[in-house]
Symmetry: D2
Subunit: 104 residues, 4 copies
């Protein structure tokens, strides 16, 4: 995923609408939280078995909620100068030390 | 960001610990929601001005929360077969139509 | 607030619709989380000053979201046998010890 | 539950610590959201069956999270002048019309 290209699109999108004024990290974190809840809503009354079944869920709508979540996460990381990919690998490294595999 | 490489690491990580049993989309959406709240917690008592200031926030800790959020989002998309990058661009296209720029 | 009377109404409401099957603590906690996000959504792009202003917020709609949140919180406490009022006073006591007032 | 008595305690608590400055509705809604996620965290990896079992959950800790959630909900309602009990009964009335019971 080309995060820089997405960041470029999102910066331009906000600038053209004069929306940068709303995009403080505090507000972006709130918006991220609201989008994740919309994702959660799809699963709240399903059993775990149903939650993986194409018959019980609307994958297109869920893909849109995943996109909304990803968009705000990228905007937040952009504002704070966080390199998401680097942070992800560092966190997986940390988790690997914290939770050694049984077969170790 | 090489999402496939991250998915590979995360699949292997879960398999080695026998954690796949916990990773239903329902549970992953819950875990995602919990991580986003940990991100939100960093900003809850800050003003918007403070939320962008390196003096008020711990960027390293926030990077770790962003990583946790990204990790669960990638795991959820993986389980559901969602192409995040494609979904993100489709959503920005939709938003561009929904909210036309003032300047046309 | 007569919590027992509300619990009675909610139990009857669920029983008449055969919805108890969906009301595991896990699911109720998810539903609670979704409702709180709907509350959060009202405030996400407002400044703190605007968030207290009757001109910027729709108090009737927010009251409805507060009600939804309270309803799921009562249902969850009911399922788990938690006495909310007692728990609230115990928590304020704990906080008073943890954060002594400056004036002593 | 005597909400007015709790509001009195919470107002006094905040005033003694000079914390009213942080308690905008926007910030209280964020804090509420963070507390609900701490509640959610107890249930994220449990099955629905486990989520109701005293052997799988720590009811005392969950009671404390329920208390935290109730406290911020009361503070938010207090700031906005919302009568929670009245709002709850109005919402149950609305739901009863929206979702008629099968047995009519």
């Amino acid at each position: 995923m080309d995060i820089h290209a997405i960041q470029e699109r999102l910066r331009e999108f906000a600038a053209e609408r004069d929306w940068e004024q709303f995009h403080s990290p505090k507000n972006l974190a709130m918006a991220l939280s609201v989008e994740v809840a919309e994702l959660l809503e799809h699963f709240q009354w399903l059993t775990e078995q149903q939650s993986v079944s194409p018959e019980s869920i609307d994958t297109d709508e869920i893909a849109t909620e995943i996109a909304d979540t990803q968009i705000y996460l990228i905007m937040l990381a952009d504002k704070l100068g966080v390199d998401i990919e680097k942070a992800v690998h560092a966190k997986i490294d940390t988790n690997a030390k914290k939770y050694p595999a049984a077969s170790g």
